[in-house]
Symmetry: C2
Amino acid sequence: MDARMMKLPLTIASIIRHAERWHGATEVVSRHVEGDIHRETYADVASRARRLARALGRLGVQPGDRVGTIAWNGHRHLEIYYATSCSLAICHTLNPRLFPEQIAWIAQDAADRVVFFDLTFLKLVESLAPKLPAVLHWVAMTDRAHMPQSSLPLLCFEELVAAEEDRYEWPDCDEDRASSLCYTSGTTGNPKGALYSHRSTVLHAMAECFPDVFGLSATETVLPVVPMFHVNAWGIPYAAPMAGTKLVFPGAGLDGASLCELFEGEKVTMSAGVPTVWQGLLQYLETSGKRVEHLKRLVIGGSAAPPAMIRDFREKHGIEVLHAWGMTEMSPLGTLNQFKVKHADWTEAARDALREKQGRPHFGVDLEIVGGDGRPLPHDGTAFGDLVVRGHWIIDRYYRDAGGDVLRDGWFPTGDVATIDADGYMKITDRSKDVIKSGGEWISSIDIENLAMAHPAIAEAAVIGVPHPKWAERPILVAVKKAGAEVTKEAMLDFLRPRIAKFWVPDDVVFVESLPHTATGKLSKLELRKQFANYKPAS
Amino acid sequence: MDARMMKLPLTIASIIRHAERWHGATEVVSRHVEGDIHRETYADVASRARRLARALGRLGVQPGDRVGTIAWNGHRHLEIYYATSCSLAICHTLNPRLFPEQIAWIAQDAADRVVFFDLTFLKLVESLAPKLPAVLHWVAMTDRAHMPQSSLPLLCFEELVAAEEDRYEWPDCDEDRASSLCYTSGTTGNPKGALYSHRSTVLHAMAECFPDVFGLSATETVLPVVPMFHVNAWGIPYAAPMAGTKLVFPGAGLDGASLCELFEGEKVTMSAGVPTVWQGLLQYLETSGKRVEHLKRLVIGGSAAPPAMIRDFREKHGIEVLHAWGMTEMSPLGTLNQFKVKHADWTEAARDALREKQGRPHFGVDLEIVGGDGRPLPHDGTAFGDLVVRGHWIIDRYYRDAGGDVLRDGWFPTGDVATIDADGYMKITDRSKDVIKSGGEWISSIDIENLAMAHPAIAEAAVIGVPHPKWAERPILVAVKKAGAEVTKEAMLDFLRPRIAKFWVPDDVVFVESLPHTATGKLSKLELRKQFANYKPAS
């Protein structure tokens, strides 16, 4: 029997319509790459998005067309998000931190028709343009006064908006329609696109508002440090207008001083980003003696937050760091580390240990860890297996079917290896391809790396598996010493031995000048394994 | 272009599955009508719901069948919620506070196949049974030891559950499928049913978790005072397991002492209910000198919360009262009164005035006020018009099409008259049928009543319109004096005059011994208008 409820689609247009009607006067503050601080409201965003949508139509953008962006976090980027998706085009955010050849490959694969870019990326755009004949228009996200000289026939964002009247009704839209596209920068093979829907985006944003996730409300002010070119700034550009949260965009100013100025000046209560940015902020606060008085919560994801950072923010600055985990294929939110009622009675040391885990899933996402046979492993905090996920905002295929059928029994394999404890808290122990299988047992490379990096002489460490005639694989530790520091192989092994199981102790320690990294700054174990392809054990 | 996201339905089964997997050890505490305090976990609820679903199948309940409940808030009622909806039957909550003839009419209209009831309602059930031959089974929600003597062949809830193994997979379910049914107890005509869907229930629960709505999380403990027989306890039985919130059910103990004991004993942080219950709690706290230390937030809806109550809870007990508004046809949440960033700078007096409004809508609901011509009125806090709503959890028809096409241009007319201010805060000024239209202008009966009730001699007041040859209608005030108090008509009018527009001043004041009320305790202006059908003005 069908119910008797209104059937309204879950669309991105309904988010900006809500913000305009019920939070129209709430501010969206942006640091422009031109230098000034720009203020507008959600009513302005909605109006400018409508006018931009008319301009896109005039430029020949059709429903389903991809529109690229190469831009920092700012109100114009936000307006493009809504102008594209709400007019049934697809917002395709390009990551300027990738190698230019990768960006060109991605823009070509997506067949972007129009590309918007911030002025900082002019040189990049000029180098890309010859490789991208399908791009009809390049639009500089600035006003006439700041339009640069260029070899390209650039369009001016503010002129496009100013030329249009604010008369546009967002078209009806099926909620399963594609709304936006983001490519993963995998370490192997070509990048693959995650093609989100209106429905998945809205449900993801709703869950993000939960108190146990980002806890967005109309009394909060959020500054997303995580870039809008990286998995839609973790969904904040959708969740904030949904909740009527004041938005502050940092533009290109991600250094400690610039962030601190906005945090204080705009009374920011909540932020989100990767560990490196927060390390910079911590250092700036320490050296400058400045305080951030309003900031209460920081969500940290992208890679594991060092325990010392979590503690320093809390103890020195009264800021709660919330560990999060997700991936591009998950829109991206999978888990967030927030306490349960029972943890109020725990000791601070036990709470600290819990904070280091990646957290528990919220409604809308389900997780499981499975063994080699695909069967679920116990949630005991010890057993570790391949982490698989399912939920409303998780892909079931890549864009253009890249990689074919990627699901395993209806679950998406994350490529991570993890434990889940009895309270549902998940901890990443390794990447599936990095886990070391020694004599039928699994060894977590990340656990050993974290321990090694706790040694005062070690700057960076990597653990990889090397072939072994008896055990199939054995771990070796490859480490970079801190400038001026000294430590021997034996001292390093002595340091590790009391802290890990005997069979986890690396067979060798190799000191190197530097470790290989990917374009986005992640340790490249693929490259490292290549370097050690012909490694022979000392014994 | 269709996106590439997993397509999973929004179902009630997905809520309890989430609670079992990720909050399995979180408690659900219930005060049984038998007297004891019962403790179980979400894992228990899920398991018992599965076993109960098997029992329902054995009793002949088919997908789409209605299963009635006449019960207080408790774990068994929660288990029925999930056992019915998740097995594709429809959970039909019957309101025991209605007149027995109304209950019988509703159960017949819904064609309930099985009815579950709490022991307190045995006499009621025995009187209903002869009128409801279609009910196959009456199930007493208790164990064998507490089974009562009865003229009916009763089944025992705990025996049904104990007889089944925990082997049951919730069937696949389209998200638009009907999940539950609740009748409105309108003041005119027969009751009409609101038939909710899995999708509407899930989306309503998600929005309810927002910090600006109920703010449910795994560190909160919620005690719903609002009954599960009244619009699903405002959705808390769905939102709490979704967020992993500890649930405390008060059973039949809604007096101040019983509530206070549970609030303190279970460290309840949040509750929700109608003003009369909270008045009782306030009085109990005052006379007993007891404190409720953990309670932080009370959501008050159903009727307007008196300003003094809002203030007393905050100032004397540190409890923030959140004014809410909704209706059965809206699942029920429409608005909730929470501040925005800007209100932090307001004076406490201005914040108090704002708190008296019913609040602003959250994502998923849209409101509008329209004039007689159906056109939107300004959101200026002054203009008042018919309040219409639309959204994901609002009906578009009644069950069995009662009343036919009830929407107006796609909006549901609430029957309320309201203002909306520039910040989006809505205030109910009247019921549409009670608003007085005098010389083309509207007069709010509620505003005058509230003023009249602020007079120290007045216990209760009602304002109704009576026919007038020149102005079409004019207001008269009908009032009940407090025991032993005295006030004259002229003194009453003198009291009102400086506080309202001249044309709002009632033409007459009539003192009566009592005012008529409906079965659910609301003032019945319909009845009052009948009493005054032959009223002739004094002048």
